[in-house]
C-alpha cells in the first residue's frame, strides 16, 4: 500500500528542526536521512500504484535514485527499457533526459512511435569516481522529451546492433570525447 504521509511527516520533522542546516548532532542527522528515505520508499509505491492506474495495467516500475551520479541498474543492463516521465506543471515541459547505458547506438521512440534524435556521451571520470563500484554503465544516453501538462508520457529505448563500420565510428567519437 502506497502512502505519502510517511514522507510528509519526515519532511515536517526535518523542516521544524532546520534539519538541512546541520544544526543537529550527527546521529540525529542520520535519523532524519533515514526517515526521509523511508518516506520516499513509501511514496514510490504510491507513484507505482498511480502510474499503474493511469496506464491501465500493473507494471514493474523502477526508481533510480542515483541518476545524478549515473547509476541505474535497469538502464545500464537492459537492451530495451521505457522511460516514463511525469510532469506536475500545468503546461507542457521540454526536458532533456540522461540515462546511464551500456552501448553505443540506441533507438528512442516518442509516445507517437516516432524515432527521435538521441546521442550517446561518455560518463565522465568525475562521475565514475563518485559512483565507486556501482556504475555498470559506460555511457549516457541523451534525448529531448516533451511532457504534457499534468500528465505523463512514455519513451521507449532499444539498443540496436551495429555493423562494424558504424561501431568503429561510434567508438572513435566516444574516444575523441573522452
Amino acid at each position: 500500500k502506497g502512502d505519502s504521509s510517511m514522507l510528509k511527516r519526515a519532511m515536517a520533522v526535518a523542516q521544524h528542526h532546520d534539519a538541512v542546516s546541520g544544526t543537529e548532532k550527527q546521529h540525529v542527522a542520520n535519523d532524519y536521512a533515514k526517515r526521509l528515505a523511508g518516506g520516499w520508499d513509501s511514496c514510490q509505491i504510491l507513484i507505482t500504484n498511480a502510474m499503474a492506474s493511469l496506464m491501465g495495467r500493473k507494471e514493474h516500475f523502477v526508481f533510480c535514485n542515483l541518476l545524478n551520479i549515473s547509476v541505474c541498474q535497469l538502464t545500464a543492463t537492459s537492451s530495451e527499457f521505457r522511460v516514463i516521465l511525469y510532469n506536475s506543471l500545468g503546461r507542457n515541459v521540454q526536458t532533456y533526459v540522461r540515462v546511464p547505458v551500456s552501448g553505443l547506438v540506441f533507438n528512442v521512440t516518442d509516445p507517437s512511435g516516432q524515432n527521435i534524435p538521441n546521442e550517446v556521451v561518455p560518463i565522465s571520470n568525475f562521475t565514475r569516481a563518485l559512483s565507486y563500484d556501482e556504475t555498470l554503465a559506460n555511457n549516457e544516453l541523451l534525448f529531448q522529451a516533451s511532457v504534457p501538462p499534468l500528465g505523463f508520457c512514455v519513451y521507449s529505448v532499444t539498443k540496436t546492433s551495429v555493423d562494424p563500420l558504424q561501431r568503429t565510428k561510434a567508438e572513435q567519437e566516444l574516444h575523441r570525447a573522452k
Binding site: 541505474c72 533526459v97 508520457c153
Partner: protein, 284 residues
C-alpha cells in the same frame, strides 16, 4: 591557444584559453554580451580570534579573512561537443570539478559542480563558494528571493530599518537564497537559479557568490555541541553535486525567463523506468 567555446541558438559561451574558466557569455537573442569569470573558492573558517572567540560552525558562518582562496587559478578542461549537448569539463582539483553545459535550444547555461570530500589535512575548516565576477556596476546591491515569491533588494553593509555597524564583512552580507539570486545594472541582469537553498551574497561590485559546501573543525557553541564535520558513507567527508542555471539578458526580459525556469526546477519532471518496450506508447 584557441579558446574553447560552446554555442546554441540562444547563447554563446567563451572560455579563457589560459585559465580554462568562463570568460564571456553572449545572449544571441538580445545581442547582450557580458564578460564574466566564474570560479570556485574557499573561505578559511575562523576558529575564533582576539576580537571575538566565535568559531565558524553549523549556526554561524564566520570566515577568518575577507578574501576567499581560489581552489585553482586555472583549470584543466576538455570539450564534448555534440548536436544535443555541448559540455566543457573543468577539473579544478582532486576534490572539485565542474561541467559547464549547454543543451540545444535552452536559454540558460548549466553549471554542474561536484565538491568534496573537502580536505582538512591543513587543519583549516573550509566553506566553498562559487563566485561570478562581471563588470556590471551594481554598487553592492543584489537581489535574493524568499521561496521564489517576494524578491528582496539587499544592500551591502546596510539594513533597511536600522543603522548597521558591520562587524563581519563577509558573513554580515550573506543572505538566504531559496531559489535565485541576481545582480543587474541599468541594462543587463545576471540571474542564477539554484537547485537547493544556499547562502549567497555580492561582496564586490558586479560579483555574485553562492556557498555550495562547508566542512568545519569547531563547534560554534550555539547548542549543537559538534563541528559540522560529516564523514559520509566512505568516511572521507561528504561529496555534493548540484547545479546553477545562469541567465544573461536585459533587465526587462529576465523575470520572464527565471520565473518560468524556476517552476520547471521546483516541480521537476519525475522519471521512472520500466523494462521492455511497448507499442503504441503512452501519453496521457
Amino acid at each position: 591557444a584557441v579558446p574553447l567555446q560552446i554555442e546554441n541558438k540562444h547563447l554563446h559561451v567563451l572560455f579563457d584559453p589560459v585559465t580554462g574558466l568562463i570568460s564571456k557569455i553572449e545572449n544571441l537573442d538580445s545581442g547582450i554580451t557580458l564578460p564574466i569569470t566564474q570560479n570556485l573558492y574557499w573561505y578559511k573558517a575562523s576558529s575564533g580570534n582576539a576580537d571575538n572567540p566565535q568559531a565558524s560552525g553549523a549556526y554561524i558562518f564566520r570566515p577568518n579573512h575577507s578574501e576567499p582562496i581560489p581552489i585553482a587559478k586555472a583549470v584543466q578542461t576538455h570539450l564534448v561537443q555534440n548536436t544535443l549537448v555541448q559540455e566543457v569539463y573543468q577539473n579544478v582539483s582532486s576534490w572539485c570539478s565542474q561541467v559547464v553545459r549547454l543543451y540545444a535550444g535552452q536559454k540558460f547555461l548549466e553549471l554542474e559542480w561536484t565538491v568534496g570530500p573537502v580536505p582538512l589535512d591543513d587543519d583549516y575548516g573550509k566553506e566553498i563558494i562559487s563566485r561570478f565576477e562581471t563588470p556590471l556596476a551594481t554598487e553592492g546591491i543584489f537581489y535574493t528571493d524568499s521561496n521564489g515569491r517576494e524578491i528582496l533588494e539587499r544592500r551591502k553593509d546596510s539594513r533597511e530599518t536600522w543603522k548597521l555597524s558591520q562587524t563581519e564583512p563577509v558573513a554580515g552580507n550573506y543572505y538566504p537564497v531559496n531559489s535565485r539570486i541576481y545582480i543587474k545594472d541599468e541594462k543587463i541582469q545576471l540571474t542564477v537559479l539554484t537547485d537547493r537553498s544556499q547562502g549567497g551574497s555580492s561582496l564586490l561590485s558586479g560579483s555574485l557568490e553562492l556557498m555550495v559546501h562547508r566542512r568545519l573543525l569547531f563547534d560554534d557553541h550555539r547548542g549543537v555541541g559538534e563541528p559540522l564535520l560529516e564523514d559520509g558513507a566512505y568516511g572521507k567527508g561528504l561529496i555534493v553535486r548540484g547545479s546553477h542555471r545562469l541567465f544573461v539578458d536585459s533587465v526587462e526580459a529576465s523575470a520572464d525567463l527565471h520565473r518560468l525556469q524556476a517552476q520547471v526546477e521546483f516541480m521537476a519532471v519525475q522519471t521512472v523506468f520500466a523494462p521492455g518496450v511497448e507499442s503504441p506508447n503512452h501519453q496521457k
